[in-house]
Symmetry: C2
Subunit: 225 residues, 2 copies
């Protein structure tokens, strides 16, 4: 297959780091990006993703997914479910779990890339993710990669450059890739606040990563969106 | 996991046969059905599916998928692409190929079943399918089953009772399962006609299956929808 790559860009810190990883790996002319509009509570993410792609100079498309809302019952799309403040790791699946969300994202990304000569998908999932989403683990991704290759009859690689990195290491990688400045366009806060609320689980994890890396978070200093 | 099953019901002959297979295997009280509304050209399928489920006495839900339309470029959802009359087997992927469609259907079915205690998905895909869809093959399904089990942290089995059956054998199985009468509610015609047009690839394949089995197709005799 080709060396063209499609980055699943959520508008967050991790997928933005992945975008810059892809620019280094495949070259700007061979990178595209996609964001899924699945009715997320914090719609600002989509605008952030658009700005991040524009800033990086890569094509960007927003694909709609209305099915998650119909599936219901999760904190990211259902306003009747509270967003948890605490880190739910170790306490079973979090309230923010949309069953199979990453499987759907990657399947659509592969389908979108099918007619566009995309041989590489890049996603910011991490096994060390605080949320404990099972569809972020590399063994899940490996199985899906196989299903997509077979189901689309295409050679396809799913890259997870952050898979085994801690948040601290991800921040250091972002700096190494020249992605730090773009961090002011990113969104992390589960409450949708800019500047970030600083107290939700996502904000606290992000802050800890930057602190441990000894790097100032551009988002906290001067949000770009 | 539980012995509850969810049948992916397209409204066609194969998935209807699978519904009756599931009734025999799991018992009526343990079977539910789902139909995906993905903007298919022949909307009558959805009404057919509803009638088939009602007739069989099982719960039925229609889940929306708007993303395929955004992916574009295929004959089943894009009215600018002609529906092929000829059997495209052996000539590469057909114009009716929606990349990864079955992968998406099964992932959503698993997600829908996640909070409902569903341990079994049943789908009418067949490796012998005239259309040559690569996501209908059992090796693809096996890989997806593994991805779903890992990604949802649930034991889950994807049943493909028609996987290795010819269309003739599928008709004979339908008769054995008492599903023949329900066939008048089904829809097969790619052109959306009832009674069926009889000349499109789907109609001709169906007719050949019934003829080879020596069974009269109730749909041709007296359509129920």
């Amino acid at each position: 297959m080709t060396d063209r790559a499609l980055v699943v860009l959520s508008g967050g810190q991790d997928s933005t780091t992945c975008l810059y990883w892809a620019l280094h790996r495949f070259g700007r002319d061979n990178v595209e990006s996609v964001t899924f509009d699945y009715g997320q509570r914090h719609r600002i993410e989509i605008e952030c993703a658009r700005r991040i792609a524009e800033d990086a100079g890569v094509p960007h498309v927003v694909l709609p997914i209305d099915t998650f809302a119909a599936l219901g019952g999760n904190a990211l799309t259902d306003s009747s479910v509270d967003v948890p403040d605490t880190d739910p790791a170790g306490s079973g699946l979090p309230a923010t779990f949309v069953p199979g969300r990453n499987l759907v994202f990657l399947t659509y990304a592969a389908a979108w890339g099918w007619r566009r000569g995309i041989g590489h998908l890049v996603t910011g999932v991490a096994q060390t993710d605080y949320s404990g989403y099972p569809d972020c683990r590399r063994d899940t991704i490996d199985a899906l990669e196989r299903a997509l290759k077979l189901g689309l009859e295409r050679d396809l690689t799913i890259h997870t450059p952050l898979s085994s990195l801690s948040k601290k290491q991800t921040v250091l990688l972002a700096r190494e890739l020249g992605a730090l400045d773009a961090m002011r366009f990113t969104h992390t806060c589960y409450r949708g606040q800019r500047p970030p609320c600083g107290v939700c689980a996502a904000c606290r994890l992000r802050a800890r990563g930057f602190a441990e890396a000894g790097v100032i978070d551009p988002l906290v200093e001067s949000p770009g969106v």
